[in-house]
Symmetry: C3
Subunit: 344 residues, 3 copies
């Protein structure tokens, strides 16, 4: 494809020779002539200065570079699109593999690709365009929308409801029993987890992430939410539309995450909280209380991030502060009565 055509398809401003032929997308380091590369993170600016790529997708206001540039207000979007243009993903063959065990009353709309040893339970409904890889288990009563993708080893428990264009990576478990027990003197008694999980449209869930079914009602993953790998969403939680949970995040039961929330890796939230729309939680933070919309919080326990940074900075000076107080105490004690002397 000629660079000029590519620029048009990506809705980018082209600076450079539009007749250059481009054939692949590569990283700044690995790119050579005929390749398009990508620069959005300033950390990699020095690689851009020496890249052998024929062209680079850059932010609209990027400085001059030694090769052609494709400029755009949203370089990540242009990058996503150019990868889609040049990368042809492997597609499993259409049809139902002869080893798949599909219940007689399951309804799978065509076209569909159902892999080897997939197990589809009684009464399951799956919309058109599904790609179900080997060893996926769909328990009875599950309802799934159009263009569903489930990678090898996914488990969807009974009565879970899934919207359109949902992607589940390998090892995802949707609808395992929530962690609920009634303590008694003879040991804990299991509280039946009678609800389900509802996953709305355009949700993507990363490898080995678990979303537990509700005790009553539904654990909700709202439209457009993206969950990374090894995330835990407890029973009766709600993850708001277009929220992002990075890897290893944990949400205890009944916590409600608003719309457009971003939680960094390994962050956790206690149960029964409300985390407002647009909240950002710094990686590894612990959120013990509800957070109003729009806040950026960090630390443990999580607080307004500017405050937490100030405290973290002060903390670095704490050993020195101890010495300064000791020195003050000596100075003051030299001129005061013994009663005033602080201990050490």
């Amino acid at each position: 494809m000629k660079l000029a055509e590519l620029a048009e398809r990506l809705r980018c401003e082209l600076r450079g020779d539009g007749t250059i032929e481009v054939r692949a997308v590569r990283s700044l380091e690995e790119a050579g002539p005929g390749d398009v590369a990508f620069l959005a993170n300033p950390r990699y600016a020095s690689q851009a200065a020496t890249t052998k790529a024929s062209a680079i997708i850059v932010p609209a206001d990027a400085g001059d570079l030694p090769c052609a540039t494709l400029r755009t207000a949203n370089p990540y979007l242009a990058f996503a699109e150019v990868l889609g243009l040049f990368h042809v993903p492997r597609q499993p063959p259409p049809g139902i593999h002869p080893t798949a065990v599909v219940a007689a009353d399951a309804r799978i709309a065509e076209p569909a690709s159902i892999g080897a040893y997939a197990v589809i339970g009684d009464g399951v409904e799956i919309g058109a365009g599904a790609t179900i890889h080997p060893h996926v288990t769909i328990y009875p009563g599950v309802r799934i929308g159009r263009s569903f993708t489930a990678h090898a080893g996914v488990v969807v428990r009974e009565d879970v409801v899934i919207g359109d264009r949902v992607v589940l990576h390998s090892g995802v478990v949707l609808g395992a029993d929530g962690f609920g027990f009634a303590p008694t003197p003879q040991g804990a008694v299991k509280i039946p987890q009678t609800g389900n999980v509802v996953v709305e449209d355009d949700v993507e869930i990363g490898a080995n992430t678990t979303v537990d079914r509700a005790t009553l009602g539904a654990t909700m993953i709202r439209r457009g939410a993206k969950l990374d790998n090894l995330v835990m969403v407890g029973h009766n939680c709600e993850v708001g539309a277009h929220s992002f949970l990075a890897a290893q995040v944990g949400l205890a039961g009944s916590t409600k995450i608003g719309r457009g929330v971003q939680m960094g890796g390994q962050a956790g939230a206690a149960g029964h909280l409300t985390i407002g729309d647009g909240v950002q939680v710094v990686a590894q933070s612990g959120v013990p209380n509800s957070v109003p919309a729009g806040r950026i919080v960090g630390g443990y326990p999580a607080m307004e991030v500017t405050r937490w940074r100030r405290i973290s900075a002060a903390l670095l000076r704490l050993p020195e502060l101890l010495q300064r107080v000791r020195r003050l105490e000596r100075t003051v004690a030299g001129r005061s009565t013994p009663d005033d002397r602080g201990g050490d």
Copy 2:
């Protein structure tokens, strides 16, 4: 069922009209006429005040509510029981699915439900009443008690021993090799993990949790312990009877957790520790040393929780404290020799 009968079955004190017919259990928000709801957490008291439920299970000392109440000293237990009364879980059909691969010398007591593509290895023994969902793999030499439940995708490695009424959720891996290597100048040499895992009666283990086999001897999960999702139990650990490990907890190798211990989500314990009976560990804490029985610990490194809370509170005032010390230094310096002045 009439409310009076329900109260009797649940051993609750009924306040209200015992002739009301109840048909389902729903949350306070979703309940309508004919529904029983549940209130134990005071956070939801306002929902109870406006619920349309016909009756609510409440603690014995709850205030008056606008509907009938079922009062009990253990509302969680009554809630567990009422869910069991009204919820009929889906049960897979009895018998061994024709696609299951069961070793000729495996012994599976009847009745049993073995799902599609389950793989049961040589010499495995499974007690009566097992429900093994599709794609479960039981390696050779495993011994399992009565009323076993393993959800789709569970893996039980060779020679693991499992008691009665154990529930394993999808993705659980019991008996993977412990993380043991001998460092050498040529790289790490694997230390064979020759022990196993022993899971006693009435244990429930959450989705994608891993319990590693011992180097020698057994990694122990004692009677009645409950592990949530994505927990890691290292080789040669022991989790005491009736202990609770919340999601994403991690135990490094050879740590012994006592009876009735509770660890909050994402908490971790170092290796070779002893955590005494009844200890409570706050979520996200890090436990670097052994903890005597009965303590409540939190923070990182974990300490007595009251002390940790005091320190956390003091931490919030640290930036202000720095300013106060600076001010003191100036005040004192104004009346003292230059040598006494603290730096800033």
Copy 3:
């Protein structure tokens, strides 16, 4: 085996009766006559003093013990070797199980053991000596070296490249899509993850660990690296040769870990960092910035560990420090103008 012969095989110095017959390896607590035990961690020295073992493998400089000792500079290595001598692991039968679905053009060198329901995709190449347990899914285009072991439920996504003697435990997912999305006003657009994962020789990866495929290029796990359970390696990361990542460690995207790095359990590193050769990261730490080679870092945010320990120690005295400052303020205020008084 006679103790003298065992000492020779393990290249240990024998102190004691070389004619003793030994038949098994057991822990210090469980060992009896005829057993070899092992002592490296001083925590267990008291158990060594009372063990009934016939011999103990100990460090070269260990004190006298009440039984024979096998002394070596690397007791962990001798322990690994003695376990290998006395423990015969269960081996699945050779050959391809009739239920395995192997693509017509997949090439699997002999000997190989391919378990029930394994699925091997188009064009896959696997070197001699593979042991692939039941329910493993190898997507198309994967290339694997010699002596590969994959436990039940492993998933290797398309085009992943794996070296020789690699061990993958159950539930490992190699090559799931990295977590990359371009934000737009209409919601996040997926950035195709077009790269792969390359795992070099002698790597072992623990149960339910996930290593995501690169956006472009490869996520690299270098020679001899060992990853414990439930670890998350983000897209485009590189884990250096002979590095150790303990359980539940998380690496955000594009972070490069040097050679011989050790990260403790539940530690995390932000994205786009460089962590130098030989760095040690304390358990549960959070690494927000790059770390030069050779450093030992801890805390959150992670810093030089000696500094962090000093700060942690000072932190314990913070409530007391607040009181001392208050006392100082009162003392000084008693002799100064009201303007100087610090607030409380």
